[in-house]
């Protein structure tokens, strides 16, 4: 009977020691599946970003999912009218955690040029936004820059602590004593930048 070695030099190169957070964040940031919330002309630039010249697949985000259950990042591209606002919020709520939001362009960030009775003055009045992209509409490069900023942001998150305590209590019993991090309460509490009239 052959002896099973605890250390096998043949698989040495395939083992990496790292922190759990770093591993989780690395996987998350490189497979950000977008929810393309294309509402106006920004959606055209969003499509251009996905097409071959700019190729959002280089950042692992080529899988535009039209089902919110499979999405990680909602890209709000365009003017959010009040008629559409609660539908956007509903789709956001259907996305599973962890989730992020990019407000693409002037309209999604602040209402843009539409100081109007019909237009929501920034999607951050309804859902928490991680990255705002200026421009009307922004160039595809700007969206890619925003995506890279979001990746940088995900790198720094405390993903393990952000898990629900009941999921991680077996691994780390003392985790129950830790207060939930911001990522855990994302979308529930008022994050910085979320206005008080959030519904």
């Amino acid at each position: 009977m052959p002896q099973v070695a605890a250390y096998d030099s043949k698989i040495e190169g395939n083992i990496i020691f790292t922190q759990l957070d770093a591993a989780m964040n690395w996987m998350r940031k490189n497979s950000l599946w977008p929810m393309p919330m294309g509402l106006a002309c920004c959606a055209i630039e969003l499509m251009a970003t996905a097409a071959s010249r700019f190729d959002i697949a280089r950042f692992g985000s080529e899988v535009m999912r039209f089902s919110p259950r499979q999405c990680d990042v909602m890209i709000v591209a365009g003017t959010v009218t009040y008629k559409m606002a609660l539908a956007v919020k509903r789709i956001w709520e259907q996305m599973p955690e962890p989730k992020w939001c990019i407000a693409m362009g002037a309209c999604a960030s602040s209402g843009g040029m539409y100081r109007s009775y019909a237009v929501l003055q920034g999607i951050d009045q309804l859902i928490p936004v991680d990255v705002y992209i200026s421009g009307c509409p922004p160039r595809p490069e700007a969206l890619l820059e925003g995506l890279m900023r979001l990746q940088k942001k995900i790198e720094g998150e405390q993903s393990f602590l952000a898990q629900k305590p009941q999921l991680t209590a077996d691994l780390v019993p003392e985790i129950k004593k830790r207060p939930p991090t911001r990522a855990y309460v994302r979308g529930v509490a008022t994050a910085p930048g979320v206005k008080s009239n959030m519904r």
Binding site: S116, Y117, Q121, N197, R199
Partner: protein
């Protein structure tokens, strides 16, 4: 009969129905009584070959009496002539007969006018709002409705709040300057 001949003889054909007729840059506009609308519309379509209703629009002359105007743009495909029919609607009545059975395209035009200006259309088959949602309490294109909107709430449907006219990233200065100088500018940091 050719198109120009028809337009010249309109006042004879429609007779007393026409209150006033205006000719401006080869466009003919005449005003009628709201009560005569359906009769005039039927006559225009069936006898004068105005088979195409281009648009219906409404005007709010706030402070004047009657307050509203409804404008019908009709066109004849066969004679290639255009005609504009106007009628005045007072705020107390605030209703016009529908022409959606004469020109079916009027259905959504009339719904839009009802939605934006609050003028009702008698006997319309489906007079619901078309752009705003059912339950929105205002008529946004009326002159007394503020540009920034008014707060409203329809639970689970939509809400609105007044948009900030100042404090945003762009500002517009009200003035009589030309459009080039009036357009929104990026706010200067010190302002």
């Amino acid at each position: 009969m050719t198109g120009p001949e028809l337009l010249k003889s309109l006042s004879r054909l429609l007779g007393s129905k026409i209150q006033s007729q205006i000719e401006f840059r080869h466009e003919t506009t005449f005003t009628i009584q709201p009560a005569d609308l359906r009769e005039v519309a039927k006559f225009c379509r069936d006898e004068l070959s105005f088979d195409y209703l281009i648009d219906i629009s409404s005007v709010d002359n706030l402070g004047e009496e009657p307050r509203f105007e409804v404008v019908y743009e009709v066109y004849s495909m066969t004679l290639a002539i255009h005609l504009r029919i106007k009628l005045a609607v007072s705020e107390e009545v605030c209703a016009v007969d529908t022409v959606s059975d004469i020109w079916p395209t009027a259905d959504w035009h009339e719904r839009e006018i009802y939605d934006m200006m609050g003028i009702r259309f008698n006997n319309h088959p489906d007079l619901r709002r078309i752009l705003m949602w059912d339950g929105y309490p205002f008529f946004p294109l009326r002159k007394d409705f503020p540009l920034e909107g008014l707060p409203s709430e329809m639970p689970d449907v939509a809400f609105t709040s007044a948009a900030p006219m100042e404090g945003g990233p762009f500002v517009t200065q009200p003035s009589t300057a030309t459009a080039k100088d009036r357009e929104p500018r990026a706010r200067r940091p010190e302002v």
